[in-house]
């Protein structure tokens, strides 16, 4: 925990305006989210569909426009930067996308795609320098340099995602925001890509924000994990801690719901009944109240705040005392 904070996010809020018939709803995709990204760590963001984890990642570099909040990076608030300077930041905070096919332009060669960031920011002095760097980067993600002349449709899913990663590390950035980078891949390929990400992170000293709906994947790769539910972080902790003693009832439900590859451990579904409430008209109080096994009256009236517990450990729940007992 002695690491220094590379990026500090405070009270981030991103709202989408959704029109349904005559009414316009303000959908708070991300609501009051704060966390620190420490240098050299992998911070996992986990949650189910529509919990806002992807929007957090996109808001950090302005791909989704944040409504409020402060993202401190390199001494400035990125959210307040003018477009031109924001583009410079984007060279140092890069993204890896979920769908490796959709994220590559079908009409551009792999080499062009890999060199895109460098080309945009005019970083290659000569054409020879450019192709040397492309080759090196392709090799570092485990692809033959000859791939530079190929096109996305000639590659397999795993190869495409390697290209997606190669593109994010030429030139080497400070931070990578990896948005569900392995969800579209088969198990055996997924493991290859996860190992690649870990190798690169160690080798290049990267800091990674790893977003995924898959708790096992996040748990495998992350140093710390933030659990999101309906736009808010409900718990944040070191990976081991989170698994061994989850504090928030939702975290517990999520961990318990993951089918274990062991026929002797059967899951039960008593922990998170039903489905999430409407995002457009959320109920007052805690957003998990309608599914929570520990629900109290207060939960339906007042939303809990994220409380500092043990070192580096936070959770937002009215019933924390009961859980820790």
């Amino acid at each position: 925990m002695a690491n220094k904070s590379l990026m500090a996010v405070r009270e981030l809020r991103t709202t989408f305006h959704v029109k349904r018939g005559r009414k316009t709803y303000a959908l708070k995709a991300v609501d009051n989210v704060s966390f620190d990204l420490q240098k050299g760590e992998i911070l996992g963001f986990v949650g189910e569909t529509g919990c806002g984890k992807t929007t957090v990642g996109r808001s950090l570099i302005g791909l989704s426009k944040a409504e409020a909040g402060d993202v401190r990076y390199g001494g400035v608030n990125i959210l307040a930067l003018p477009e031109r300077q924001l583009r410079e930041v984007r060279l140092n905070v890069r993204m890896v996308f979920q769908d490796p096919y959709a994220s590559l332009n079908p009409r551009r060669s792999i080499g062009d795609s890999v060199a895109e960031a460098g080309d945009i920011h005019k970083l290659f002095a000569t054409a020879a320098e450019r192709s040397r760097q492309i080759s090196e980067t392709l090799e570092s993600v485990g692809l033959d340099p000859s791939f530079a002349d190929r096109f996305p449709h000639e590659l397999s899913g795993g190869q495409r995602q390697r290209v997606g990663i190669a593109r994010a590390i030429l030139p080497v950035p400070d931070i990578i925001i990896a948005d569900e980078p392995v969800s579209a891949l088969d198990v055996s390929i997924q493991a290859q890509v996860l190992n690649l990400l870990l190798d690169l992170q160690k080798g290049l000293g990267l800091t990674i924000l790893f977003i995924s709906h898959d708790l096992s994947v996040v748990g495998q790769i992350s140093d710390r994990i933030a659990v999101m539910y309906l736009g808010q972080i409900v718990e944040i902790a070191e990976a081991e801690q989170l698994y061994q003693s989850p504090l928030h009832p939702y975290t517990r439900a999520l961990i318990d719901a993951v089918p274990k590859p062991d026929p002797k451990i059967k899951i039960s579904d008593g922990l998170a009944i039903g489905e999430p409430p409407s995002r457009l008209e959320p109920p007052p109080g805690c957003s998990f109240a309608n599914r929570c096994p520990l629900v109290h009256d207060v939960c339906r009236q007042r939303a809990p705040v994220l409380k500092d517990l043990a070192a580096g450990r936070k959770a937002a729940c009215h019933a924390l005392d009961e859980v820790t007992k």
Partner: protein
């Protein structure tokens, strides 16, 4: 109950038919849940569609082998032909509950449509029966939800409706093709429990297709592992999870992220699954296998028994349990 024997499904292209599945065989007993697990393109979905008589186009057909339901051959019958000859009894649910329901038809009507075909003789009121089915799959306010359109329901609810439709066909066997892959994990556990509960209550068999070993462990009684169109290993679920013998099954286990053992790095299977057009002779897994020898690269593979009901298609089966990943 259901017996699949040497089923080969092929794409008929210009020159030579390409085999999507190659001599797939398995049996499902009454009340049994058989899990079929494998990665994308291994032929598991095509097998399920072939069992249903729902192969997607004229270019894809069963080349050889048969599907027997209670001893009767249903291989080349579409579902409506099966109704005609009185051999219906296989229902199916699909991966995408959103696109699998007709968007402009009320869900109640979609259930009743199946009842009109399969529940005529019973003389039950289809309306009341639909409500019963909705109760059975735990949909609250059944009377109200009957009038809903699919887009008004959540993903989990839609999959419950799909299950209700399947049940309306009075199935002896439910074929489930990745029914929880599109769902959130907390909803997935509810659907898995529902399927198990229905199996117990209605004593039907289930063929459950998935890519997720965790789901298989939760639900299945027996497991088939498929690779490149073939069943490479089949065993009782505990047997398979404790004592896998095929190197591919071992590989799958060592790819699984396990937050409980973060310190150990994953041991991925190198390379990637072969494309349909260049499946190597001999063992299809040979190019990725750590134990490969010359014998693997040609000829036919043995289908050896390792204990009762545990068979694998391999020259060099590994023994000694899951830890023995080499």
């Amino acid at each position: 109950m259901l017996s699949v024997q040497d089923l080969t499904v092929s794409v008929i292209t210009g020159e030579q038919p390409l085999d999507i599945t190659r001599a797939v065989s398995f049996d499902i007993g009454p009340g049994e849940i058989l899990g079929v697990v494998g990665e994308s393109g291994c032929g598991k979905s095509m097998t399920s569609l072939a069992i249903m008589g729902l192969l997607p186009s004229k270019q894809i057909a069963v080349q050889s082998g048969r599907v027997l339901l209670d001893g009767s051959d249903i291989t080349h019958l579409t579902p409506d032909q099966r109704v005609d000859v009185g051999l219906s009894g296989v229902s199916m649910i699909f991966q995408e509950p959103m696109t699998s329901l007709n968007p402009v038809m009320r869900v109640g009507a979609q259930i009743m449509e199946a009842l009109r075909v399969h529940d005529r003789e019973n003389g039950r009121d289809p309306f009341a029966r639909t409500r019963e089915l909705l109760d059975l799959v735990h949909i609250p306010d059944a009377a109200l939800q009957m009038n809903a359109y699919p887009h008004e329901l959540s993903g989990g609810m839609r999959q419950r409706i799909m299950i209700a439709i399947a049940l309306a066909c009075n199935p002896k066997i439910l074929v489930a093709d990745e029914p929880t892959t599109a769902l959130d994990v907390t909803v997935q556990s509810q659907i898995l429990n529902l399927i198990r509960e229905l199996r117990d209550e209605l004593s039907m068999s289930v063929l459950f297709i998935t890519h997720d070993l965790g789901v298989v462990a939760q639900l299945a009684d027996r497991v088939c592992v498929m690779y490149a169109g073939q069943v490479v290993e089949t065993a009782d679920v505990t047997q398979l999870f404790e004592n896998p013998v095929h190197p591919y099954t071992h590989g799958l286990f060592s790819c699984l992220p396990d937050p409980g053992r973060r310190a150990e790095p994953l041991k991925p299977i190198p390379g990637q699954a072969p494309l349909l057009i260049d499946i190597p002779p001999g063992c299809a897994f040979a190019p990725r296998c750590a134990d490969v020898t010359e014998i693997c690269r040609s000829g036919t593979l043995p289908w050896e028994s390792h204990s009762s009901g545990h068979q694998a298609r391999c020259h060099h089966p590994r023994t000694g349990g899951r830890g023995n990943g080499q």
